[in-house]
Symmetry: D2
Subunit: 311 residues, 4 copies
C-alpha cells in the first residue's frame, strides 16, 4: 500500500466518524472528562518507515487514562523483570475494569496488569525505593522519550479529580494490601496511579510513543525493550487490552491494543504500524465506540490484522 493510499484511507475514516450518529457515552465520573465534546475524533498512524499520517483532531491532547498502563508495565518489567508476574497474572479477567470479585477468590493477585487492580500493583512495583514524585517523573520522561516530544504533560486537574472520586481504586488497593500484594502506603501508590492515568497526549504523540511495540522493541536504532518483551507486551494487549471486551476487539480488529476511558486507543500492527485513535464516546465496556469502529475500518482496508496472511 502506498503512502498516498494510507492518507486517503484515514482521511476517509475520519470523515465517516465525523458524521457518525451513534457516538457512545462520554465518561462523566469526573468533570474534566465529562466536559470533553463527544464530537471529537482523531487518528494518527506511524508506519515502520517512520512516516506519520494524521486526520481529524489528531493534535489535540486527551486524557490517555488506562493506556498509560502499557507504559507503566514496560517500566516495571525494566525495573524488576519477570518478578512482576509473581504479583499479577497474565490472563483476561472476563470482568469489568474495576471488578473486585476475583481478588477475593484469587487471594489478592489481579488477573493482569491492564485492569485497575493490576496497574495499581505495577505502580507499587515502580515505587519500590522511589518517592511518588520520582516515579511520576520517571514515567513522564519515558513517554516523552518514546514519543520524542517533551511537551507531553500530566493534567493535574484530572489527577486531582481521580483522587477525589477514586473510591473503588482505594477499595482495590486496600483489599490487595490486606493480602500483602501492595507493599507501600495505599495513598502513595494511588497518588502515582492517578497521575499516570492523567497523562495527556494527542493521537500523534501516542502513535509515536507506541513505535517500540511495532518495531520489536526498538525506536529507530535505540532499543527500548528486548524483542521478546515487546512481543509479550503486544500479546497482553491482545488478550487483556479492552477489559471484558477484549475478545470482541480481537475478533473484529485483530490487533494488540489498549484503550482508555478518555476515549483513546493505542493499537499496534507489528512490523507495520503504530496507530492511535481518539473519540470520547464509550461503549458499555468503557472502550471508545468510534475508536473501535475506526480501527475496524482501517484493518478492513489495509489487511493489517495479525490473523491474516501477509503478502
Amino acid at each position: 500500500m502506498g503512502i498516498a493510499d494510507l492518507s486517503a484511507i484515514i482521511t476517509e475514516i475520519a470523515e465517516e466518524m465525523r458524521f457518525a450518529e451513534v457516538r457512545g457515552k462520554v465518561a462523566d465520573y469526573i468533570p474534566p472528562l465529562a466536559s470533553v465534546p463527544h464530537t471529537k475524533f482523531g487518528i494518527a498512524v506511524v508506519m515502520a518507515d517512520g512516516s506519520l499520517h494524521t486526520a481529524g483532531d489528531a493534535e489535540e491532547p486527551f486524557s490517555i487514562q488506562s493506556i498509560s498502563k502499557v507504559f507503566a508495565l514496560t517500566l516495571a518489567l525494566g525495573a524488576v523483570g519477570d518478578q512482576v508476574w509473581k504479583r499479577v497474572g497474565r490472563e483476561p479477567s472476563g470482568s469489568a475494569f474495576n471488578s473486585i470479585v476475583q481478588l477475593e477468590t484469587e487471594q489478592g493477585i489481579p488477573r493482569n496488569p491492564f485492569i485497575n487492580a493490576g496497574a495499581i500493583v505495577v505502580c507499587d512495583v515502580l515505587l519500590g525505593r522511589l518517592e511518588p514524585r520520582e516515579a511520576i517523573g520517571q514515567l513522564l520522561r519515558f513517554v516523552r522519550e518514546l514519543a520524542g516530544d517533551d511537551s507531553i504533560a500530566i493534567d493535574e486537574t484530572v489527577a486531582w479529580a481521580e483522587q477525589e472520586t477514586g473510591f473503588r481504586n482505594f477499595a482495590l488497593a486496600n483489599y490487595m494490601r490486606a493480602f500483602g500484594n501492595i507493599h507501600g502506603p495505599v495513598e502513595r501508590v494511588l497518588g502515582v496511579y492517578f497521575h499516570f492515568c492523567a497523562l495527556a497526549m494527542s493521537c500523534r504523540q501516542l502513535a509515536l510513543a507506541g513505535r517500540f511495540l511495532m518495531d520489536g522493541g526498538r525506536v529507530g536504532a535505540h532499543r527500548v525493550v528486548t524483542e521478546r518483551r515487546s512481543r509479550r507486551i503486544n500479546a497482553l494487549m491482545m488478550s487483556c487490552g479492552h477489559y471484558d471486551n477484549s475478545g470482541d476487539f480481537a475478533f473484529r480488529i485483530g490487533l494488540p491494543g489498549k484503550s482508555g476511558v478518555g476515549g483513546g486507543i493505542l493499537a499496534v500492527a507489528p512490523g507495520v504500524a503504530s496507530i492511535a485513535v481518539w473519540s470520547p464516546g464509550l461503549n458499555p465496556s468503557g472502550n471508545s465506540h468510534l475508536g473501535q469502529l475506526a480501527l475496524e475500518r482501517l484493518v478492513q482496508k489495509t489487511g493489517w490484522s495479525v490473523f491474516e496472511p501477509r503478502g
Copy 2:
C-alpha cells in the same frame, strides 16, 4: 528459513520433548484417555508452500477432543452465519473449561464457542433439522476433506465413555436448555457433542486440516471460508483457545491455537504454517504441557509469533 532448517528444528524439539522429565498429567476421567502412554510426543508442520514436516509420533492418531470445537464452529458459521453469535459470546471466560457459574449470571449464554458450554450450543445449532447421525457424518466428512484423508475416524469407545461420565456436560446442557439456549433434546445434542470430541487424528492429519486457517480460508484453490471468517476464527483461538490459560498461551507462544484434553494442540501462523503437536500429559489448566513447550521452542526459533515484526 529453509525447509531443511525447519526439519532440523522440529527434529530437535521432538528430541528434547522425548527426554523431558516433567510431562504433566494424562487425563484419567475415561479409560481410553487414561491408557495413553505419557511418553508420546508428536509434531507436524504444514508450510504455506504445502511442504509437510513431522517428527516423533506424528502419525499416531489421538483423541482430538476440544480441538474439534474449531471445526464444529466453522461448520456452524457456514450453516447460520453470524446468527451463532446470538447464542454464544466471543469473550474469554476467565474460568475453567467446564465452569457453570457464568451461565447463571449471564442467562445461559456461554462466553465463547471453545468452552464446553459454548461448543454444546454449536452442536445444537448444527443439529437444526439434521438427525444426530447426519450431523456427526457432516463433521467427519468436513474434517476428512480439510485434511484430504478419508481414513480419519471417530473412536466410538471414547464417545461412549464420554457419554457415560459426562455429568457436567449434561448439567451444562440442561442448564442452558432451562434458559432456552438449547433447542433440541439434551440427549441428542450431547450425543453429537461427545462424538465430535471423539474424533481421532494424527498430528499430520490435524496440521493438514488446519491449513485453511493458515491460508486465509482456502486450501489450495478451494475456498473453505471467507478470508474474514478465517481471520475471526483465528482471533477466537487466540483469545479463548486454552480456557483459563489462554492469556499465558498468547504471552508465551503468540499464535492462535486450540487445545484438547487428549493432549493435542492445533496452532496457526497465518500465512506461514499450520502446526499440530501432541503429548498427552496436561498442565493444571488442561492443556498439553509438552505441547505448549514445543510450540514455545518453535516460535523462539522461527519468529512466527503474530506479535513479532515479520521480515
Copy 3:
C-alpha cells in the same frame, strides 16, 4: 388466648386477604400451577390442644411443592440419621432456590436440604435400595399418617409437567452427580423429587401434618421423631425455609416456616400451633405474598413469634 378469639382472628385475616389488591404473581412455569386462580386464600391452625381452626379456602388441595422438602428430610433423617449432613449443609444459601453457583465452589455439596439441590440429594438418600415407586409410596404414607388423612394424593399432572420442564433440576442433579454427591441414576432420583413436589394438600391437611414439629416430635402419644430432631428441623426451617427471603421471614414473622412455589407455607409455633396458609401469588423470591402477610398479621395479634418473651 381463647379459642373463640383465635377463630375471630383468622376469620378477620382471611377477610383482609380476600380483598387485598397486591396479590403477587402466580407461578406459570407449568400449566397446572398457572391455572390456579390468584383469588385463592386459605388458612388453618392446629393448636397444641388439638383444636383446629380454618378460614377461607382451607379445604382446597393445592400443590405443596417445596414444603414437601420438610417431610422428605424428616424421612431421610429417620433412614440414615446424621449421615445426611455429610452430603448436604445446614446454612442459608443467600441465593435463589435453583442457583447452581455454590455447587461449583463448594464441590457439589448443597447448602441446605430446603433448596432444590439439597432436596434432590435427600431424594437420592431416600432411594437407597428402594425403587422410585417405593420411595414415593413411603412419603405418601408418611404424610397421610402425619395428617391422619388417607385422602392425600400426588397430582400426577403436576409431577409430569415438572418432569417435562425441569431442566434446571436436571442440571443440578447431573452437576452433583459429577461430584459424586448423587449416587443413583439422575432420572430415577428426579422422578422421585418431582413426585414429592406434586403432593396436593389442603391447608387443613398441611397444618395437621405439621403437628409433630409443634409438639416436640410427637403427634399425640405417637412419637414421630426425637425432640432434638424436631427442634433441629424447626431451626432449619427458620434459617433456610424461604430461600433468599429467609432472613426477612424471620425478621417479620419469627416462626420456623417452609414455603412452596404453589403458594403454600407451613409455619410452626413450637408448643403452641401448627399453621398452614395458602395463596398462589408469589413475591419475587418465590414465596406466597399474601401467605407471608397473613402470618405476619397472625403473629402480631397472637404474639407467637419465637423471639418474643412468652407469658
Copy 4:
C-alpha cells in the same frame, strides 16, 4: 428449673470447658487479641427474675468485637428507624464476615448489619451530624446504661491496632462509598467502627447489657426499644449472628446470638435468660469454639431453645 440447678449447670459447663482439649485458634491478626491465653473460659447468665449466675472467667473483660454490632444497630434504629433498611439488608450472607463479593453484585448494599460491611454502614448512619468522638461516646454510654455499669471502657490499644491493620475494612468502606452507600469520609466512619469493636466487657457485663433483648425491649421498668424492635433484633441475630456459621448455630443451639472474634458470644432466650460466654479460641468461621459448645450444653440441659415447646 430452680436457681440452684442453674448455678450447678453452669459450674459444670465451666468445668468441662476448662479441661477441653480442642479449644480452637485464638485470633492473631492484632497483638492485643493474639496475646489472650486460650485457656480462658467464662459464662454469665441473667434470668428474667434478675438473678445473675456466673462461672469461670466471667469477670474478666475481653474485646467484644462484633458483638458491638448489636448495640450499634439498636442505636441506629433508634436514630433513624426503618430508614436503616434502605442501606443494609436483612438476609444471611452465606459468606465470610469480611467478604466483598456480594457488594459488587448487590450494588454496595451489604446483606445484613452483622457482617463488617453492614456494621460500617450502621456507623455511617450513627455519625450523621455527630463527630466521631460523640458517636463513640454515645455507644459507650448506651452500653454502660444497659449493663448498669459505668466501668465499661474502650480498649484504645485494640482500636489502634484495628486501624493499623484494617485494610479489608478500608476496602469495604471505600467500595460502598463508590456506590454512594457511605456518606461520610471513610477515615471517620472507620474510626468509629474500630472503636466500637474495641469495647471491652466481661461476661457479666455483657449478659447484663443483653437483658433488653430477653425482656421484650425493657430493662426492668425502663423501655429501651419497642417489643417489636426487640423481637426483630433477635430474629436478625438468629439469621445472621454467626457469619457463614449462622445456620449451624441455629441448628445446634437454637437461640438468637452474636459472636465476636475476641471469642465472646451474646445469646438470648426470649423471656427466660440473657447469656454471655467467652473463650478466645475460634472455629474456622471465626466463632468461639468452646463458647458455642458451652451454649449447646446449656440448651440441652435447660431446654431453652426457641424451637422447643415450652412448659
